[in-house]
Structure formats: structure tokens, C-alpha cells
Amino acid sequence: MKKKRSVIEIISTVRFLHILLAIILGFAVGALFLTVMGISVGDAYGKLLDSVTTVKGISYVIVYATPYVMTGLSVAFSFKTGVFNIGAEGQFVVGSMAAAVTGILLKALPKPVLIPLCFIAAMAAGALWGIIVGILKTKWGINEVLAMIMFNWIAFYLSNYIAGLPGIKNTGTAEATQSLTENARTLLSKETISRLGLAPTANWGILVAVAAMILVWFIIEKTTLGYELKAVGSNRFAAEYGGIGVNRSILTALAISGALAGLGGALHLMGMGNRISIFSAQEGFGFGGIVVALIGCSNPFGALAAGLFYGALTYGGSKLNLVGAPTQLTSVIIGTVVFFIAISVIFERLGGGIRARRNAAAREDKQKREAQKTPPEAAPGGAPDQEKKEGEAK
């Protein structure tokens, strides 16, 4: 008997199609808002597309995306290990500040020594921030979401405090740290930038992010450590019974997750940022990372793709003013995408329902042993059933 697969069923089994559909719906809702506001959809989306498809545009997108890829990886890694790292924001901030302090105080060191030092300092600071929360959780049973929200703000004010210290603070009027010297920056050479017509802040940070992505994939999929972390994430009691040290696993997971976010802070600072301002509100790289991890299905490769998408919308969105469309349009688009990803489980349930019914029909077929080919129920069967279920619920 030939299996006929309905559209809904195909969508239900291919995760990538959910995401694609969610993205299309996100842009559709954005278009709806634009139409209501009386702004030409073609103008706005045309501007968005134009600004990210030139060579310069692409280089900007990569520069914008790099920190989000890193925080996305951090959050995705934490999801795999059963912790929700809402603290990536704070880990990013302390990582960034550690890199800045290292870069400013040791500016005499040569570039090949200084840059790795900055990276290490940032990863250590991020990991420390993760471990503190891990200790609070494993030693005193303090809810990690609550602790992370607190440590996000502690990191924020700590960074502001350090940025104002003598020796770190800008000697000019700017409320910021000193700028990093050339030997602590990851920028491409001036010749390359002008020859290829790239963004002035074009840097090789993305390569580090890609290396981190491969490393994360390797740890999760190919090592004993990754296996243990995943086991704790899916069922900590079973893992404990199986002889895995749960507390140690949680601490390790938070340390790695924190180090990834911290390195993201360093890459942002040493590439695009140059110096750290005294902020009045959180910048949201960590929260963006949550969105990136969700769009990327908590998968390291997904985090790279989603990070680039996020970077493209952030950079493209900043150009929307030129056609009179508000920058916040991109928040609405991304929010809608995430919303539809959240409710995409409905496809899985619809598809599962169709499969279950076809299997039942097939069994009936077999029992009756009828030679006639009764076609299995097709897609439209799914919808009324869902409605019935909805009706019941009401």
C-alpha cells in the first residue's frame, strides 16, 4: 500500500519547515502592521533586504550576529543540559568587562599574546558567573532562574562600577572605559576592509564563534561529558541512579554555558564595541541569545543560522527609519516568529493524530482482509477533529 503523506504531516515531521513557516508568518504579521500604519510594505521590506544583501551589508550582519551566536550557543547548551540559562546576559557583561580590563591594563603586550589572554579572562569571568549560580543551586537549593536574574543585575552594576574606576575610565568626557588599543582588537586589516568594501568594524570574531559552535556540538554529541550532561538534563534522578554526579554535572554545564556567553562579550567588545559605556539599561545580548537558541531549536548549528538571522534583522531594522518605518518592526517580526515556533507543536499533534488514525485504519484493513484498497484518511480529517477537541475544551 502506497503511503500518501499530507502537507500537514510533512510539516509536522520536518522541524526546519516549522521554523520557515514561522518566519513567513512573522513577516506577514509585520506587513499587516505596516499596512495599518500606512507605510508601504514593499518599501520597508525592500529596504530591509537591500541593506543586508550588499557585501558591506553582509559584513555588518556578521559583525552584529557574532555576539548573538555566542549567547545563543550558551543558552542552547544550557537547554540541552536541562538548565534554563536566563543568566547569559550577566555572563556576557562580566565576560566583556574582563576582556576590557585585561586589554586596558596589559596593553603593552603583543597582539598574539594579548588577544588570547582577553578571551581567557572573558571565559573565566563568564564561567565564574555561571558557577556561582550553580553553587547557590546545588548547595542551598536556590532556584537558578531567580539567582540568575539577580546576578544579571549584579553584573550590570559591577560593570558600570568598574568602568568608572580610575585607570579604566576614559580620560575624556565619555562615560565609558578607555578604548582598547589596536593589539587587543580582532578587526580585519584596513587594506582588506577597504579593498573588499566591508564594514569598518569587520572582524574575525565570527570564526571564533564557529569554532565554539563545532566544539559545543562535539561536546554534546561525541563525549562522555556531553552524554552525562544530557542524561542529567532529561532525568536527573535516573542519571543519579546510573551513577552520574548530578551536582557536578550542573556546575560543569553552567560553567561551560557561562564561558560561552562570556566569550561572546569579549568578541563583541574586541570587534565592534571598542569600549564599554556606563549603561542605564541592560543591552539584552543575553535575552537575544534566548531568542536565538529558541529559533535555532537549541541546536549548535541552528544557533549559528538563527544568530545570523537575528543579526540581519537587527542591522536591517536600524535602516528602516530611512523609509519612515519604525525600527521596532523587527521586534514585532521576531516576536511573532518566536510565538509561532512556540505554537508549532500543534503541527506535531495534528501530524501525530493523522498518523495514529491511518495506523488504526490500516489495522482495520488488515483485520477485515479486504482486497479493496481503502484510501487512508487524508489531511482534511485532522482539522474537524481538532475543532471538536477545541469545542470540548470550551
Binding site: F33, M37, F84, I86, L136, W140, G141, I142, N143, V145, L146, A147, I149, M150, F151, N152, W153, I154, Y157, L158, N160, Y161, G164, I278, S280, A281, Q282, F287, I290, V291, L294, P326, Q328, L329, T330, S331, V332, I334, G335, T336, V338, F339, I341, A342, I343, V345, I346, R349, K389, E390, E392, A393, K394
Partner: protein, 314 residues
Amino acid sequence: MTDVINSLGILLFATLAYGTPLIYASLGSCFSEVSGVVNIGIEGMMTAGAFTGTVVAYFTGSPWIGFLCGGLAGMLFGALHALATVRLGADQTIAGTAINMLGPGVVIMIARVLFDSTDTIPLTTEQRMPRLLAGVFDTGTTFGRFMDNVFSTYASTYLVFVAVIIVWFVFYKTRFGLRMRACGEHPEACETLGINVLKTRFLCVCLSGFLSGLGGACVTMAISNQFRPISIVGQGFIAIAAVIFGKFRPHGALVGCLLFGFCSGLKTVLGGSSGIDTQLISMIPYVVTVLVLILFVGKSRVPSANGKPFIKAR
């Protein structure tokens, strides 16, 4: 002595001013979490309420209509969250994150259309939340000034304490409260007893949106007089933290919010005079919360079915 009493008055005023929006939002969060739905979209719902409250108050001239509409705007996003998580069985964290992006995105776009700016036009005194008992106390005397600081606070602050009592009563003294808490612990058992889990949860998430919206409106209509994109920066998350702090009980959350408000107030009072760096002083509320957790509160038990979508059996 006069100085001390003055400072104490200002400290208590600031405690209540900072605490009020948090209390509203944390009451909302309690409803949602206790019924079994994780709601990290409180922040987005507060932003919606903060914007709508000031805009409606600006156009109608009535702070109360504005305040109510702020709640309703929050409820709208609450309903969206409920639709996704309760009806469609969506992942609650993902849906909440979406709400946090959509809330500010939508309202700031509307602000751009209405005011051609991301900020709203500042409210006049009549349009703002009224200060009850203003002018009752003689501010000429030290004691009068103290009383004026503490008691002539915004009407929304008085209202929030009434709300806490009502919510506490609903939680622990009504049939609905019992059912709601049961839905968060063991929805399958509830369903066999004939409790409509989906309906109960839907209502609770909508209520959480409404209360968060009111909290947001307090920020822009009482403490400040206009909506700006940085009006709501993290208060929603602090409210969630207060609920975890208070072990998912409304009166516990109240204590958490007041502690947080008090520490924020300390920041205002110490700010100029003490010689300690303001950034370090700003850290106090967060550090104190962590210390109190370690020393006094400890482990907080999350409702068993919290975060798990309930799918009705066929």
C-alpha cells in the same frame, strides 16, 4: 534627629513607590504559576500596561480609566499567552519570550504613530494617579512631614494592599482558589474530578496579564508621568523572582517585593550623601535578595505541574 526621621519617611515612601508595581505584577505571576503555567512574559505585559495606561489617561483625562485600560492591555497579551500555552499546548518559556518581544515592539510602534516619538507626552497632575491624603498633614513639623511622606502616597499603592488581601482570600478561602492550586499540582486528577483544567488555567493566565498591566501602569502613571522605552526594564523579572522568593504564595511575594522596594529605597536615601559609589549602592537590592535566600528562605518548591502543558485526553 529631624534628619533621621526625614530620611526614614523618604525611605518608606520610596519602598512603597518602588514596591507597588512589583506587587501587582507578582500577584499576577502567582496566579499563572500556581495554576501550572510558567509566565516569563510578565515584562512584556507590564510594558503594554505601562504604555496603554498613560495614553488612555492622556486622551480621556481620567487616571482611573487609564489605569483600568492598562490592566486590560496586559490582559490582552495574557490572553495571547494563554491561547498559545493552554489551548495549543505550546512551550511556556518560548511563548513567554515571544510576549516579551511583542509587547514592547507593538506599543513602541503605536507610540511612533500617535506621538511621532517613542515617548508619550507627559501627563498633567490631574491625569496622573492621585495622591490620597495630600495636604492632610502639616508639612511644617517633622512628624507631619514624615506622615505626609508615608501616607500621602499614590492611590494605586493603597489599592495594591487591598488587592493582596483579595488575592490571598481567593487563593486560600475560595473553591476557585483550591481548584486553581490543584490544577498546578495534578491536572490529571483535577480533570477526573470534573474540574475544567484548561478553563481554569486560561482564566489564571489572563488574570496574570491584567495584574501585570496594572503594575506597568503604576510605573508610568504614579512614579513617573510618561511612558518611555526604558520605563519597564526588568521589573517583570524581579516580580517573578519575588514570587519564587515568596514560595509561590501571594503574601510571600508581597514580602519579597517590599524587601526589594526597601533596598531600592535605601539606594535613593544613601545615594547622594554617603560617599559610596552609586553603582555599588544600586547593587544592594540584588545582593540582599541573594543573601536573604541563602540565610532565611532556602529551597522553594515549584508547583508540581508548573511548566507542563496539559493535554486533555480524548
